[in-house]
């Protein structure tokens, strides 16, 4: 077995986003999944159809604004996002952004709250409010997901619907190796959470297409403003991600220096290692 085939093994049966449902075309769109060329099209009935280069028809799901597929045979159903069926929410297709880095690094950066004041200055964080308060991180064995809860952070403009600074509460969830779901204080509906996701399509071990998606309670802001707010945030991350060295995510136990801020990242790496989710990882000490 080649190195490439070995690192793909555990992740090959997972679901990955491969396109927007709203932009399916009969002529199809050529893309790639874990190094393999694939084509995403819609059939005569308008259903998504994903095929490999050899003509093999791949498994498909149409959920959360996106087409999902897998090179293998998924053992589990695509992870649930119950908020996706909740009436009153607006669903935002933010659109694809390509990033020259490992798909795992993209998720790890999404989980890192400590970068807010430095990368998303005056939007999601600001100096001197750089303190990350105590929060809880766990791997929930029943659902096999990484969860971080009670994450509180001061933000000058937490979302498009927030006017002025507020302390925002977050929950982070990793339900699949290249996907993360973020739950965030919802200013107009204090008893609900806004949902902001990062769905990452691994093109190769150091190249990915990122498809952010949101399910929000916000009747005020225009759809274009919602898209542009999230694109602005993600583009700020992109320029950081493309400069990280190495491009793949190091999964070496010796390199972990736990601080309060990156507890989620450590739990994510541990969970990846436990499942041999190493496509896009750099294994230093083996």
């Amino acid at each position: 077995m080649t190195d490439q085939a070995m690192t793909m093994q555990a992740m090959i049966d997972e679901w990955y986003p491969v396109g927007l449902l709203s932009q399916l075309q009969p002529g199809g769109r050529k893309t790639a999944l874990m190094g393999a060329p694939i084509e995403v099209a819609c059939d005569a009935e308008g259903h998504a159809r994903v095929t490999a280069a050899d003509g093999r028809v791949l498994p498909v799901r149409a959920r959360y604004g996106h087409v999902w597929s897998s090179l293998g045979a998924p053992q589990k159903e695509l992870f649930p996002i119950p908020e996706a069926d909740q009436p009153g929410r607006r669903f935002v297709d933010v659109g694809v952004v390509r990033v020259r880095c490992s798909p795992l690094r993209t998720v790890e950066n999404f989980l890192d709250i400590a970068h807010f004041p430095f990368v998303h200055t005056d939007i999601l964080g600001a100096e001197p409010h750089t303190e990350v308060q105590n929060y809880k991180v766990e791997i929930r064995e029943d659902v096999d997901e990484v969860w971080a809860t009670q994450v509180k952070f001061y933000q000058p403009q937490a979302s498009k619907s927030a006017s002025g600074g507020i302390t925002t509460e977050y929950m982070y969830r990793v339900p699949a190796p290249t996907c993360s779901v973020l739950y965030k204080t919802c200013p107009p509906r204090p008893d609900e959470w806004d949902v902001i996701t990062l769905f990452v399509q691994p093109l190769s071990e150091d190249l990915c297409d990122v498809w952010p998606w949101m399910a929000l309670f916000d009747d005020e802001t225009s759809m274009t403003d919602l898209i542009h707010f999230q694109q602005t945030i993600f583009l700020q991350d992109r320029s950081i991600l493309e400069n990280q060295i190495p491009r793949r995510l190091p999964l070496d136990p010796g390199m972990e220096i736990p601080t309060r801020a990156d507890l989620t990242s450590i739990a994510y790496r541990r969970w990846l290692k436990r499942h041999d989710y190493t496509y896009g990882a750099q294994l230093v000490a083996q």
Partner: protein
């Protein structure tokens, strides 16, 4: 004054930056360029048959070329940003305004390809981008010899604003700026101007940290 705007578009940013530097308030009308392709909608094509943004509306004036928008903002609010009376200066402003469209085609094309998956021959776009950067670097070095820090003059003009965004965002398209010291100095000079504003990928000057101490070598 109404600007049809996309937050990630360097050409739209030119106009927002010029407006900020000259103290003009714009009424921004966001266009869903990506993923919605709203710039190609019937309503937008009626404004600009070329199907691109920015578009600037002021009374019965409708502009679809960013260089014309820069000239308009400067003429209206801050004529010092236009060329002065010297023929060489006027010529250099026109030279670099026209040159800026090569940056849009090459570095801008590479960025759209690498970031938003737009079609294009990436190797050709990057090669043309590098050629344009080398020309800009040479132009700035020559200006330096003349004792001038900016492209057409000792003060910044609309020509600098026309060229700056696509140059600063070259790394988004996989083109590094490390080989161009004159461009990096020029970029710092522009970013330190009063009224300078950011866009995603173009940061304010907060990397001005003290030099790290030189480690002493024990013999």
């Amino acid at each position: 004054m109404k600007l049809y705007d996309y937050i990630l578009s360097p050409s739209c940013y030119k106009v927002r930056l010029m407006a900020s530097l000259t103290g003009v308030t714009l009424d921004l009308r966001p266009v869903d360029f990506h993923p919605g392709a709203e710039h190609r909608s019937a309503a937008m094509l009626a404004l600009n048959p070329a199907g691109c943004i920015p578009i600037l509306e002021d009374g019965d004036l409708l502009l679809t070329e960013s260089a014309a928008m820069l000239a308009y903002l400067a003429a209206k609010a801050a004529p010092a940003w236009l060329a002065g009376e010297k023929p060489e200066e006027a010529a250099r402003v026109q030279q670099w305004l026209a040159f800026s469209s090569r940056l849009t085609a090459s570095l801008g094309g590479a960025r759209l390809h690498e970031m938003l998956l737009r079609p294009g021959d990436i190797a050709v776009l990057q090669r043309q981008g590098i050629a344009a950067l080398r020309e800009l670097e040479a132009g700035l070095v020559e200006q330096g010899v003349r004792g001038m820090r900016f492209l057409a003059s000792e003060r910044p003009t609309i020509a600098d604003i026309a060229c700056f965004p696509y140059v600063a965002l070259a790394p988004d398209g996989g083109v590094a700026l490390d080989p161009y010291p004159a461009i990096r100095l020029w970029s710092r000079a522009l970013r330190s101007l009063d009224g300078f504003i950011e866009m995603p990928g173009i940061h304010r000057l907060h990397e001005l940290k003290p030099e790290p101490p030189i480690p002493t070598v024990e013999v």
